[in-house]
C-alpha cells in the first residue's frame, strides 16, 4: 500500500495548499482575461494564469512568431519547484538515502517545447533526489500517469520515496492550437454545462508517496492512499475521444481491478470534465453506466485545464476537500448540457460527503487515458496476481537505411555506424495506411508493426513509447502555420500531432492497440526504460497480454550525428514460457550515474552473462561477463548515432537477435547516460 504524505500546489487559485483550500471555500475561480499574449481573433480571451507571473511579458514580438524560439521568461521549473518544495517539506521525509528518492514528472510542453527530461532533473537536483528520474508526457493525462508510475516504483522496490506530479505553463501556441481545434470557450469553463468549451490554465502540483509501512513508522501525516491505476489507449483520434467511451472505460476497469475494488463501491469521481462538448458527454456516459452511485464533479471551472498538471492538481483539490469530509464542487454550472451529469456537485463551495473510495479520471490528446484509484479505504484486501514470466516475441528496427532485417541487426557490431535521416519505410507492405502520419509516427508505427507479428490480440496489446521531445516535422508545420497566417491560422492538425505522445497515439490507431499506453523519457537510454517498464507491467498485472515497448527519434538539429528512426520490442505475458524463448529475466533502475546500482538489482543472484550491451559508458563492463562469454561487450554508440530514445532500444533488438541466433544464452543491457540508469537482463528460457 502506498500513501500520500505531502502535497504542494501552484495554480490560478494561488500558491500553496492553504491558498487552494481557501479558494475552494470562498467559491472563487482563477480565470481571468489573458494579458501576457495577444488573443485577438482567437476563440477566447480567458485563461487561468498563476498570479505570480502577472505583469511579466512572455515574449518579444519577433519571438512570438516562432514556436521553437519563443523561449519565454517563464521557466516552467520555477512553477514546478514551488509546488515540489511545498510537497517535499510538508511530507517531512528525513534520513532517506538520496539515491532511493525518486521523481516522476508529467508535462505536456516541458520548458517551452524544447526541454522535457531537463526540467525533471532541475527539480530533482533542487530537492537532492538522486534516485530514478522519469518524465511522463501523455499530454493531459501526464501527471495522473506519473502518480501511478510513482506507486509502481515504490511497490517494486525501485525507490523508498517518490515525488510525483506535473507542471505546464500557459503558452501562446497551445492556446492558439486549442482555439483552432474549436475547443475553447469564450466564457469561463463550465464543465457539463453551457456554453461548451474549455479554459486553458497553468500550474504545478506534486504529491509525495511512500510505502505505508515506512510512513507509519515515522508517524507521517497521511493525506490519502493510492490503491491502483489504469492506463489505456483509445486508438481512435488525435484529439476527439472515442465516442463509445470504451477507452476511458477500459482504464477505469483496470484501475478498479488494480485496486481490488467493485465499481459499485466508488463514492466519488473527480472527472476530467474539460467542458468540451465531446469530452463531457462521453465521460458522463461512461461514469453513469459504470459507476451509477458515485458523486461526480470537475475542477476546471476553478483552475482551467492545466494540461500536464491537470490530473495531479484536480486530485489535490479533491483530497483537500475529503480531509474536511467534503467533495469539491463544479463551478459555473447553469444546468446540464444534453447527455451530461445533472448534478455534478453544482455549487460554489464544497459539499459534505463521506469518501472512502474515489477515482481521478484523465483523458488526453493522443487517446491516452489514465485513471487513479485513491481514498481512505483500509478494508479491501486485494489478492496479488501471481507474477508471470515475460517473453520477447518480436523486434523491429527502422533506421537510416529503412527497416533492418535480422541479418542487419546481427551486423550491428561496431564495424559500421548508422547515422543520419531515415530514408523511408514501405508502410503499405506492413498493411498500414501511412498517408496522414508524420515522420515520427511513420517510423514508430513501422517498427511496431514489424515487432508485433500478430501474436497477441491487438486490443489487449499495450504500447509504451520512449520519446524525448516533440515530433520535429509536426512542430515545424505548426510553427510555419503561425508564421504565415498568424495565431488565428494555427494548423489544428500539426498542433495535434506535435505532442510528445502523438506518435504513440498514431501507432495505437494504425495497429488497433488498445491496451495500456504511456510515453516516457529519461533522455539518453529512454528506450531501455520503456522495455523495463513494459516487462514489469506484464509480470505483475493481467490487464494486457502483450506490450510493445518502442522508441522514436526525429532529428531536431541540435546534436551531432543525429540518427533518425524507431525501434520496438514486443513483450508478452507467459505463465508457462516454452523452452528456448528469450525472456526478460530482471531489471533495475537507479538515478543519474547510478548504473552500478541498477546493474546490481538486475543481476541479483546471477554470476555472469554471455554479453554486455551498453548505451553510454561502462568502463568495467567486463566485470559482469561470465568466463569465456561469447558475446563480449558491445557499445551501442559504435553502431548507432545520436538517438536519445531509439539507440538503447535498437541495442536491445541487436542483443535479442544474437540470443535468437544462438550466439549466447544471456545478456545484460545497460543505459548509463540518462536522467536514470537502467539495466535489463535477458536470457533464453531453459527446458523444465
Amino acid at each position: 500500500m502506498v500513501v500520500v504524505t505531502g502535497m504542494g500546489a501552484v495554480s490560478a487559485l494561488g500558491t500553496g495548499i492553504d491558498a487552494h483550500r481557501a479558494a475552494l471555500w470562498e467559491g472563487r475561480d482563477g480565470i481571468r482575461t489573458i494579458e501576457r499574449f495577444e488573443t485577438a481573433g482567437l476563440a477566447s480571451h480567458l485563461g487561468a494564469m498563476w498570479p505570480g507571473w502577472d505583469g511579466l511579458v512572455q515574449t518579444t514580438a519577433k519571438e512570438a512568431e516562432d514556436l521553437v524560439a519563443s523561449v519565454a521568461p517563464f521557466p516552467v521549473h520555477e512553477l514546478a519547484l514551488i509546488a515540489a518544495r511545498e510537497a517535499w517539506s510538508s511530507a517531512g521525509v528525513r534520513d532517506v538515502d538520496p539515491r532511493r528518492a525518486a521523481i516522476v514528472f508529467g508535462t505536456c510542453y516541458g520548458q517551452t517545447y524544447v526541454e522535457f527530461s531537463a526540467v525533471t532533473e532541475r527539480i530533482a537536483n533542487a530537492l537532492d533526489l538522486a534516485g530514478p528520474r522519469v518524465t511522463v508526457s501523455t499530454a493531459c493525462a501526464s501527471s495522473t500517469n506519473a502518480i501511478g508510475l510513482a506507486r509502481d516504483l515504490l511497490l517494486r522496490g525501485h525507490a523508498d520515496v517518490v515525488i510525483a506530479g506535473g507542471a505546464d505553463a500557459l503558452l501562446r501556441e497551445p492556446f492558439a492550437g486549442f482555439s483552432s481545434l474549436g475547443v475553447l470557450s469564450a466564457e469561463k469553463c463550465a464543465p457539463f454545462s453551457d456554453p461548451p468549451g474549455t479554459t486553458l490554465g497553468e500550474g504545478a502540483g506534486f504529491v509525495v508517496l511512500e510505502r505505508e509501512a515506512d510512513a507509519s513508522k515515522r508517524n507521517a501525516n497521511v493525506w490519502t492512499r493510492v490503491f491502483g491505476y489504469g492506463l489505456s489507449a483509445d486508438g481512435h483520434h488525435e484529439t476527439t475521444p472515442d465516442p463509445s467511451g470504451d477507452g476511458l472505460r477500459r482504464a477505469m476497469r483496470w484501475a478498479l481491478a488494480d485496486a481490488g475494488w467493485d465499481a459499485r463501491a466508488i463514492d466519488y469521481v473527480s472527472a476530467h470534465a474539460t467542458g468540451t462538448h465531446n469530452n463531457d458527454r462521453i465521460e458522463h456516459s461512461v461514469i453513469a453506466r459504470e459507476l451509477a452511485s458515485a458523486l461526480v464533479s470537475g475542477s476546471k471551472g476553478h483552475i482551467g485545464h492545466v494540461q500536464g498538471a491537470a490530473g495531479v492538481l484536480e486530485l489535490i483539490l479533491a483530497v483537500i476537500c475529503h480531509r474536511e469530509g467534503c467533495v469539491p464542487p463544479t463551478l459555473h454550472f447553469r444546468g446540464a448540457r444534453p447527455g451530461c451529469a445533472t448534478d455534478p456537485i453544482a455549487s460554489s463551495t464544497p459539499r459534505e460527503a463521506h469518501v472512502e473510495r474515489a477515482l481521478k479520471l484523465s483523458a488526453a490528446f493522443g487517446g491516452a487515458n489514465a485513471v487513479l484509484a485513491y481514498g481512505a479505504d483500509v478494508a479491501t484486501k486485494k489478492e496479488p496476481i501471481a507474477p508471470a514470466r515475460v517473453v520477447i516475441t518480436g523486434h523491429g528496427v527502422v533506421g537510416p537505411n529503412g527497416a533492418l532485417r535480422t541479418t542487419d541487426l546481427l551486423a550491428l557490431d561496431g564495424s559500421k555506424k548508422l547515422v543520419g535521416a531515415c530514408r523511408g519505410v514501405d508502410l503499405d507492405a506492413l498493411g498500414v495506411d501511412g498517408r496522414r502520419l508524420d515522420r515520427s509516427s511513420r517510423w514508430l508505427t513501422a517498427a511496431a508493426a514489424i515487432a508485433r507479428r500478430k501474436r497477441a490480440p491487438a486490443e489487449s496489446t499495450g504500447l509504451f513509447v520512449a520519446a524525448t521531445r516533440m515530433p520535429t516535422e509536426s512542430s515545424m508545420r505548426c510553427t510555419e502555420s503561425i508564421r504565415q497566417r498568424g495565431a488565428i491560422g494555427t494548423s489544428a492538425s500539426a498542433f495535434a500531432r506535435m505532442s510528445v505522445n502523438a506518435p504513440a497515439g498514431a501507432c495505437s490507431r494504425a495497429l488497433g492497440l488498445l491496451g495500456p499506453t504511456s510515453t516516457l523519457s529519461i533522455d539518453d537510454g529512454s528506450g531501455l526504460l520503456a522495455i523495463a517498464l513494459a516487462a514489469e507491467w506484464l509480470s505483475v498485472r493481467d490487464d494486457a497480454t502483450a506490450i510493445l515497448a518502442g522508441a522514436v527519434d526525429e532529428p531536431c538539429g541540435r546534436y551531432e550525428e543525429e540518427t533518425e528512426g524507431a525501434a520496438c520490442v514486443a513483450l508478452e505475458r507467459a505463465s508457462d514460457p516454452r523452452a528456448g524463448e528469450i525472456a526478460v529475466a530482471s531489471w533495475g533502475i537507479a538515478g543519474r550515474d547510478g548504473a552500478r546500482d541498477a546493474i546490481a538489482r538486475a543481476m541479483s543472484g546471477r554470476t555472469g552473462v554471455d554479453g554486455v550491451f551498453v548505451d553510454g559508458s561502462l568502463p568495467d563492463a567486463r566485470e559482469w561477463l561470465a568466463p569465456n562469454a561469447p558475446l563480449g561487450v558491445t557499445l551501442a554508440q559504435s553502431f548507432w548515432g545520436t538517438a536519445h530514445a531509439t539507440r538503447s532500444c535498437a541495442m536491445a533488438a541487436a542483443a535479442i537477435a544474437r540470443l535468437e541466433a544462438g550466439h549466447g544464452e544471456s545478456a545484460l543491457l545497460v543505459a548509463t547516460r540518462g536522467a536514470s540508469s537502467v539495466a535489463v537482463v535477458i536470457e533464453r528460457t531453459r527446458p523444465r
Binding site: G182, H237, D433, R435, R436, I488, S493
Partner: protein, 101 residues
C-alpha cells in the same frame, strides 16, 4: 479557349480553373503533397480512400479557406457543407464568390 465556347461559359471555366488551382494549393499544403499540386484529382474524395484526410484536416481546410482565400463558410461540419471531394471545395469557393451558375 475554343472559339465555339460561349463567352459566359468561358468565363465560368476560367474562374473554375482558378478556384481549382487555389484549392489544390491549399490541399497540397495540408497533406504535404510531395508531387505537383496539379496532380490532385478534382474528383478525389477528401476523406477515406481518396486523399485520406481526417477531421483535423477538415478543420485546416476551413481555416485555410478563411485565411488564405478569404472565404468563411458557416458551420464546421465539412460533410454538411458538401465538402466531400476536391470539386466540392471548388464549388463552395465559387458559391461564396457568387461565381457558381
Amino acid at each position: 479557349m475554343n472559339d465555339d465556347v460561349p463567352e459566359d461559359l468561358a468565363l465560368y471555366l476560367e474562374r473554375r480553373e482558378r478556384a481549382l488551382a487555389e484549392v489544390r494549393k491549399l490541399l497540397a499544403s495540408i497533406i504535404d503533397f510531395s508531387g505537383d499540386a496539379e496532380d490532385i484529382d478534382p474528383d478525389a474524395s477528401l476523406f477515406g480512400a481518396g486523399l485520406g484526410l481526417d477531421s483535423l484536416d477538415a478543420v485546416e481546410i476551413l481555416i485555410g479557406l478563411e485565411i488564405d482565400l478569404g472565404i468563411k463558410l458557416e458551420g464546421d461540419d465539412p460533410m454538411r457543407l458538401g465538402l466531400r471531394n476536391v470539386n466540392g471545395v471548388v464549388d463552395a469557393v465559387m458559391r461564396a464568390r457568387g461565381e457558381l451558375q
